[in-house]
C-alpha cells in the first residue's frame, strides 16, 4: 500500500516538474521576444510623429496610424526604382550563376579530359577569395573602363559562384551515367543534356543556390557601395542607409519607415517559406 506521505511526495515531484517545464517555456518566449521585440519597435516607431518621438520616445504605441514617415521615405528616395534595381541585380546574378554552374559542374563531374584536376582546384581556390579582398583591385580595374556605376559592375563579378559550381558538381556526381549515355544515343546534343535533362534532376540544388544568391545580393550593401557613386544604379539597402546619414537630429521615424520597406518583404517571405529556407540552409552545410 502506498502511504499518504509518499503519494504527496510523488505529486509534489510531478508539480515541480510541470512548473519547471512552464518556466522553461516562459524563458523561451522571452528569448523570442528578444528577436521579435526589435521588429515590433521598428514598426511602432515608423507610425509615430516627430512630436511623439521627441516627447515620449520610449512609449510603445503610436497615437495614430500615421503614414507620414512612409510618405517622406517615398519622397526622399525613388523606392520603386531602387527596388527594381535591386531585384533585377539579384535575379540576374542568381540566374547567371545557375546557368554557368550547370555546364561547368557537368564537365567537372562527368567528363574525362586533361586538366580536369587543375580546373577543379582553380574553382575551389576561389572559395577563399571573398569580395572584401577583391573590391579594391576590381574598382581600380573597372574605373578606367568606365564601368563603375553600371549594372555590369554589380553583376559580372558575381557571375560565377565557386560554391555554387562546387555544389552543382556534387549533385551531378550522384546522377547515373546511363541517363547521359541514353540521351546521347537518342541524339541529344551536350547542351540539351545539360539544360533539359540534367538541370531538372538537380533542381533542389539549383533552387537552394538561387535562393541563397538572391537573398545575399538583395541585401548586399558592401559591393554596391563600392561600385556605385551616383543615383541611377543605386540599390535599396544603400538608399535606406543614406536616409540616416542625410538626416539631422531625431528623424528615427523616417529611418525606421525606410527600414520597414527594406526588411518587411524579406520577413514576410521568410514566414511563408520558412520550412523550405531552413531545409536549404542545412542542405548546403551537410552536402
Amino acid at each position: 500500500m502506498v502511504s499518504v506521505a509518499e503519494k504527496l511526495r510523488g505529486e509534489g515531484r510531478h508539480v515541480k516538474r510541470r512548473l519547471s517545464a512552464i518556466a522553461l517555456d516562459l524563458a523561451l518566449l522571452a528569448v523570442a521576444l528578444l528577436w521579435v521585440g526589435p521588429y515590433l519597435w521598428m514598426v511602432a516607431t515608423s507610425f509615430k510623429s516627430l512630436d511623439e518621438l521627441v516627447r515620449a520616445p520610449a512609449w510603445p504605441i503610436p497615437s495614430a496610424l500615421r503614414w507620414d514617415a512612409y510618405r517622406e521615405v517615398f519622397a526622399a528616395i525613388p523606392v520603386w526604382r531602387y527596388t527594381l534595381n535591386t531585384v533585377v541585380m539579384a535575379t540576374l546574378i542568381g540566374v547567371v550563376q545557375a546557368a554557368l554552374a550547370l555546364p561547368a559542374g557537368y564537365a567537372l563531374a562527368k567528363l574525362e579530359f586533361s586538366g580536369k584536376r587543375t580546373a577543379f582546384l582553380a574553382v575551389m581556390a576561389c572559395l577563399i577569395i571573398p569580395p572584401q579582398v577583391t573590391f579594391v583591385p576590381v574598382f581600380t580595374m573597372l574605373g578606367p573602363l568606365g564601368l563603375v556605376n553600371t549594372m555590369a559592375a554589380l553583376v559580372a563579378p558575381f557571375a560565377v559562384s565557386a560554391m555554387g559550381t562546387f555544389l552543382v558538381r556534387q549533385a551531378l556526381l550522384a546522377v547515373p551515367n546511363e541517363i547521359i549515355e541514353a540521351a546521347r544515343l537518342d541524339g541529344a546534343g551536350e547542351l540539351t543534356i545539360v539544360f533539359r535533362i540534367l538541370a531538372p534532376l538537380v533542381r533542389p540544388t539549383l533552387a537552394a543556390m538561387f535562393l541563397f544568391s538572391f537573398v545575399y545580393h538583395y541585401s548586399d550593401y558592401f559591393w554596391p557601395l563600392m561600385m556605385t557613386t551616383d543615383d541611377h544604379v543605386r540599390t535599396l539597402p544603400l538608399a535606406v542607409a543614406l536616409l540616416r546619414e542625410q538626416g539631422t537630429g531625431v528623424r528615427w521615424h523616417i529611418v525606421m519607415a525606410g527600414n520597414v520597406v527594406l526588411s518587411v518583404p524579406v520577413l514576410l517571405v521568410f514566414v511563408l517559406a520558412q520550412r523550405r529556407i531552413l531545409r536549404a540552409v542545412t542542405a548546403r552545410v551537410l552536402s
Binding site: L29, T45, E112, T140, V281
Partner: protein, 294 residues
C-alpha cells in the same frame, strides 16, 4: 567513372565562361592587389614604386597590429557567444510543438534580414538619448551605458549586434546536427541513471563536435570579413576603436585615396584569411577523425 566527351573541345567550352570569370574577378584582382601594394597611388596621378614602404608604414605606426587585434577580438567574442547561444537554444528547442517552432523561427529570422536593416534598427534602439535601451536602463534606475560612444565598449556592442543576427544560423546548424544523435541511445543512458549533463557531455557533445567546429570556424572567417555593421553604426569610431580590417581597407581607398596602403592591408588580410581557412581544414579533419574513432 567519367564519360568520354562527345567532342574533345566540349569540356573546355563548358568550363570556359566559369574559368574566365574566376580568372578575371578573383585571380587577376588578387595579383593586382599584390602589385599595387608596392606602389603609392592616389588614383589621380601616376603610381610610384615604394617597395615595401606601405607595409613598413603600416607596421611602424602600429596600425596593422591595432587593426588585426581589434578584428580578432571582435571575431572571437562573436564566435564564442554565437556558438554557446546557438547550442543552448538548439538543445532547448529540439522538440515538437508550435511554441518551439515559433521561437526557432523568431531567432532565425534575423539571419535573413539585411545587415543594413539590423544595423539601423540597433542604432535606434541604442540611441543614447531617445533609444529604448537607454530609456529602460534609466527607468530602472541605472546609469545608461554609452554603447556606441565609449571606445572601450563599442567593439562589444558591435559583436553583440552581430551575435543577435547570426545566432539563429548557429542554432539551425546545431539542430541539424542533433538529428544525428540517436534517441534510443539517449533513452538507454537515461534508464541507466545518466543525468542531463552527463548525457550531454558523454553522448551529445562528442557527436556534435564536428558541427561545432564547422559553426565556429565559419563564424570566425565570416566575422573577420565584417563591414556593413561598422560602416552603418560607427564609421570605425569613436577614435578608430571599431576600425576593423575591411573598414580600414575601405577607409584607405575611399576616404584617404591611398590605394597602395589599402592594397597592402588587403594582402595581409587575405593571408590571414588563408591561415584561418587552413586552420579550419585542419580542425575539421581532426574532429571528423575523432568521430570515426568513437
Amino acid at each position: 567513372m567519367s564519360l568520354k566527351p562527345a567532342r574533345a573541345y566540349h569540356p573546355y567550352a563548358m568550363l570556359a565562361p566559369t574559368l574566365a570569370v574566376l580568372v578575371l574577378f578573383f585571380l587577376v584582382p588578387l595579383g593586382i592587389a599584390f602589385r599595387n601594394s608596392f606602389f603609392a597611388w592616389d588614383l589621380l596621378t601616376e603610381p610610384e614604386p615604394v617597395g615595401l614602404g606601405n607595409y613598413r608604414a603600416l607596421w611602424a605606426s602600429g596600425e596593422l597590429v591595432a587593426i588585426a587585434s581589434r578584428t580578432l577580438g571582435y571575431s572571437v567574442v562573436v564566435v564564442v557567444a554565437s556558438l554557446a547561444l546557438g547550442l543552448g537554444l538548439a538543445l532547448a528547442l529540439n522538440r515538437e510543438g508550435r511554441l518551439y517552432a515559433f521561437v526557432r523561427g523568431a531567432v532565425f529570422s534575423a539571419y535573413v534580414v539585411s545587415w543594413v536593416a539590423v544595423a539601423l534598427l540597433w542604432l535606434w534602439l541604442l540611441d543614447p538619448q531617445a533609444g529604448l535601451v537607454a530609456r529602460v536602463t534609466k527607468g530602472l534606475g541605472f546609469t545608461p551605458v554609452d554603447w556606441l560612444g565609449n571606445p572601450s565598449v563599442v567593439l562589444f556592442t558591435l559583436a553583440g549586434v552581430t551575435v543577435w543576427k547570426i545566432t539563429g544560423y548557429a542554432m539551425v546548424i546545431f539542430l541539424a546536427g542533433l538529428q544525428d544523435v540517436p534517441r534510443s541511445v539517449l533513452e538507454a543512458a537515461a534508464l541507466d541513471g545518466a543525468g542531463p549533463w552527463q548525457r550531454f557531455r558523454r553522448i551529445v557533445w562528442p557527436l556534435l563536435r564536428p558541427t561545432a567546429t564547422f559553426v565556429g570556424t565559419t563564424g570566425l572567417i565570416l566575422s573577420f570579413q565584417a563591414f556593413d555593421i561598422v560602416r552603418v553604426m560607427t564609421q570605425g569610431g569613436p577614435v578608430r576603436s571599431s576600425t576593423i580590417f575591411v573598414y580600414a581597407i575601405y577607409e584607405q581607398v575611399f576616404v584617404n585615396m591611398r590605394v597602395g596602403r589599402a592594397s597592402a592591408l588587403t594582402v595581409v588580410f587575405f593571408l590571414l584569411l588563408v591561415g584561418l581557412t587552413g586552420a579550419q581544414w585542419f580542425l575539421w579533419r581532426k574532429s571528423s577523425e575523432g568521430r570515426v574513432a568513437t
